[in-house]
């Protein structure tokens, strides 16, 4: 078990190192912040002056070594744009994004699992077809379209809900729905298919034969077994959300999250923020995957026993 844990940790460190290195070179080879924002309308000499001041002088290799040395010291640098430590910049943005993703995940589970079960149980009636048609359409609507539509109807026309920032619980409603749309559509289909697989298994017939109530058969034996498949899907989707899905939503709802920050940092070449931000997101994704792995093991005794 110790060897297994160490191996996993080593893999993690190597992955993170590769990510940091990749981000470092990818950003630097495409220009520096002086060329994008800090140096509009300045002479060549002044450009050199600023390049030195912001520590962008020397070859890319020298800069890389300097960066790694500082990194080992726990110095992640100052944001070029915000003039404060990148850890402060990123930390401020992390929680709002986490809140939004948690809220969207919870909402997705609450809606799509019951719908998926319903679609599976009623697969031969119009109810099942209706659910699946809506889910299918949902997959075709990108979340920025859904977000814009929600803003137009519930904020602009009806004036029911706020749309700027994350100030109150009411502020969560529209961005949560906008971010969940695609996920609900996807997860409803997965739940239905997983349930259909499970419903035809022998143990379901056995459970019914034991005289258990239908509700218990479906929820314990049916959903319990289907959840093994579902967990892996949820894990991947959450990771996907964290990496990219919320960027557009954060922009539309002026959500002070990390998605907006990373986009700005990429466009304006705020390297220190970009490097630290990507690293943080990468760690978050790795941790989430680890948590899902553990949950997976608990849901499936076969895995638990094999690993133990």
């Amino acid at each position: 078990m110790l060897a297994y844990t160490l191996r996993t940790l080593a893999k993690m460190v190597i992955t993170l190192f590769a990510i940091v290195t990749l981000v470092f070179f990818a950003t630097r080879l495409s220009g520096n912040p002086i060329d994008f924002v800090l140096g509009e309308g300045i002479t060549k000499e002044d450009r050199e002056l600023l390049i030195a001041y912001y520590g962008l002088d020397g070859s890319v290799w020298t800069q890389y070594l300097r960066y790694l040395a500082a990194f080992v010291d726990g110095q992640f640098g100052l944001s070029f744009l915000e003039r404060r430590p990148v850890a402060d910049v990123v930390a401020e943005r992390l929680w709002p994004t986490a809140q939004l993703i948690l809220s969207a995940t919870a909402f997705t589970l609450l809606v799509s699992i019951p719908l998926g079960i319903l679609a599976a149980l009623k697969r031969k009636s119009w109810v099942g077809s209706a659910v699946m048609t809506v889910a299918f359409l949902g997959l075709a609507v990108p979340n920025f379209v859904l977000a814009t539509l929600l803003v137009l109807v519930f904020a602009y026309l009806l004036n029911w809900l706020p749309i700027v920032g994350n100030g109150t619980p009411a502020h969560f409603i529209l961005p949560t729905i906008a971010l969940s749309g695609l996920l609900i559509a996807a997860l409803t289909r997965f739940t239905r298919n997983a349930m259909l697989d499970v419903l035809s298994q022998d143990y379901m017939r056995t459970a019914r034969a034991k005289g258990l109530k239908e509700r218990r058969v479906i929820l314990k034996h049916g959903l319990g077994n289907a959840s093994i498949t579902l967990l892996s899907v949820i894990g991947l989707q959450v990771a996907g959300l964290a990496a990219a899905g919320s960027v557009v939503i954060e922009s539309i709802f002026a959500w002070p999250g990390i998605g907006q920050l990373l986009v700005r940092s990429a466009i304006l070449r705020d390297y220190p923020v970009l490097q630290f931000g990507v690293l943080t997101v990468a760690i978050a994704v790795i941790v989430i995957n680890a948590v899902i792995d553990i949950a997976y093991a608990y849901a499936d005794p076969r895995i638990r026993l094999a690993k133990g």
Binding site: G31, F36, L152
Partner: protein
């Protein structure tokens, strides 16, 4: 009569009370990532300094005519050709409670005039090069020394970059509190303190700025209790925020959104052509463009009025020369430096023996409003005179590359004089020349000298006309238009940008905003 007086007094007290409790929220497309008026000359930054900082010499912002007003200096006079003496206002307080002294003023001026902090050095060189320094005479008197006779004293002492900041406070921010270090200026940009009618009570870089009325302000008290500026990147969301009550004023509304606002009974818009040119620059030193006739043709082929109609609904302003009304006495609309003449363009191309080779136009996709669309239209216009154009889309600044042929850029009015617009970008040895895409010679430099340093307005005008002739004969740029910029607000708010400011200033000082 007494009753009438009493009731009038009551009503005005009630009105004053209503005004005093006013709080507004501004939805801004961009919020600064730091707040230091000295270091900044961006369009994003210029929105935020005027409410919190003062200059020594003020200006009447209600007009484009040049009218200087006392601000932190109550009077000023020239002692000799190169020395100006200024009397300071007594009893001025900084937001941190400290009294403003002559030392603070000298410190603020010399942080630019004798800059040692690289971001200041850059600004000092392009506009304050003629100032040797400032010195204290007594507690309420200072002197500013110029290197040579300066015709633009007031203009340059009115700039955002020489707004007054507290010396002791700034030095105390980082490292040794008794010493001035670069990190002090870095720290200041997150915790700015000035003398203006609003203090910055909260600042989250790139996200939020909160201004609160500064009770000890030396002039007319701020009309608003509190102003919260929030970053709202999406235009549609900003407009919707006016509906949901989450914003009272929003910035950066594109012309195509104005119709939606005009039709909505709850909101209104105010817009004006910005004191800034979107320009097309051409590399004089590119082998394919060395012949001035080719560059003249590239410019003559462009129907800027058509661009204005199609992209700006006719609301932008197409200039005949590099000139703006804001330049006051130096505004010269009679100059015909740039025109549309496709026939002449064809002739010139033929004369120059243009070989049909590809001419690339670099543009950033999202940086300038309508920038990419304008470039696409220009490609069509070039094609009509027989020029084969190609668009290169990229975010990177290519103005310093020898391979540059043509690209888009902007020439903002950093201050209300041709020196503050054309001058910053196209001075001999300035950014354009030092990047290798613009050449000047002795004659250009001589005309520049006259334009920059003549004490006589007519001489300056004549010299500027000469510079424009040079630009016409051997063009390195074409100003396309002054883009139209609009702000939207709730119907209950009465606010406008003022014509005497540099672009984008959000002025909420006394007399600038009221409510229905």
């Amino acid at each position: 009569m007494l009753r009438l007086l009493a009731s009038t007094a009551l009503i005005s007290a009630a009105l004053a009370g209503a005004a005093l409790s006013a709080e507004i929220t501004v939805g801004a497309a961009n919020v600064s990532t730091y707040l230091d008026p000295g270091r900044d000359h961006s369009n994003v930054g210029s929105q935020f300094y005027y409410n919190s900082f003062d200059t020594l010499i003020g200006r009447n912002h209600d007009t484009t005519k040049t009218e200087w007003t006392p601000a932190l200096a109550t009077s000023w006079k020239l002692i000799d050709d190169t020395t100006m003496e200024l009397k300071l206002r007594d009893g001025v307080k900084f937001h941190n409670g400290a009294a403003m002294t002559a030392d603070d003023v000298v410190f603020s001026l010399n942080r630019m005039f004798q800059a040692d902090f690289p971001p200041y050095q850059v600004r000092a060189r392009d506009r304050f090069n003629n100032f040797a320094g400032a010195e204290k005479v007594d507690d309420l008197t200072i002197r500013v020394k110029a290197k040579r006779a300066e015709p633009l004293w007031e203009t340059l002492l009115n700039l955002q970059q020489v707004m007054i900041i507290p010396a002791a406070y700034t030095m105390s921010l980082a490292g040794d509190p008794a010493k001035l270090e670069h990190d002090d200026f870095e720290a200041f940009s997150l915790k700015p303190v000035g003398t203006g009618p609003y203090k910055v009570s909260e600042f989250v870089p790139g996200q939020t700025i909160v201004w609160e009325r500064f009770a000890d302000f030396w002039g007319d008290k701020a009309p608003l209790d509190k102003v919260t500026v929030k970053h709202m990147p999406e235009t549609a969301s900003r407009i919707t925020a006016l509906k949901t009550g989450e914003a009272d004023i929003v910035t950066n509304i594109a012309p195509d959104q104005l119709d939606m606002i005009d039709k909505d009974p709850d909101m209104k818009a105010f817009g004006a052509p910005t004191a800034l040119f979107h320009v097309m620059i051409m590399n004089q030193n590119h082998p394919k463009l060395k012949d001035a006739r080719i560059r003249q043709a590239l410019s003559l082929a462009i129907d800027r009025d058509a661009l204005n109609e199609a992209l700006w609904l006719g609301k932008a302003v197409v200039p005949a020369s590099h000139t703006m009304e804001e330049f006051g006495e130096l505004y010269m609309p009679e100059l015909k430096t740039f025109e549309y003449n496709p026939e002449k363009a064809k002739e010139l191309l033929k004369e120059a023996g243009y070989d049909g080779s590809e001419i690339t136009f670099d543009t950033a996709a999202g940086y300038y409003t309508n920038g990419l669309l304008a470039t696409q239209a220009i490609m069509e216009m070039w094609a009509e005179v027989g020029v084969k154009g190609k668009i290169n889309v990229g975010d990177k600044w290519t103005g310093n590359s020898p391979e540059l042929m043509v690209r888009n850029w902007s020439n903002p009015m950093y201050f209300a004089d041709p020196f503050g617009s054309f001058g910053v970008m196209w001075a001999p040895g300035g950014p354009s020349q030092s990047e290798g895409r613009f050449n000047t010679d002795d004659a250009y430099a001589a005309a520049w000298e006259k334009f920059r340093f003549s004490g006589d307005v007519e001489l300056r005008r004549a010299a500027y006309a000469e510079l424009m002739d040079r630009v016409k004969a051997d063009p390195a740029l074409l100003p396309l238009y002054r883009p139209y910029e609009a702000w939207a607000m709730k119907n209950s708010v009465n606010w406008q940008t003022k014509p005497g400011h540099i672009p984008y200033v959000l002025d909420f000082r006394a007399g600038s905003i009221s409510f229905n």
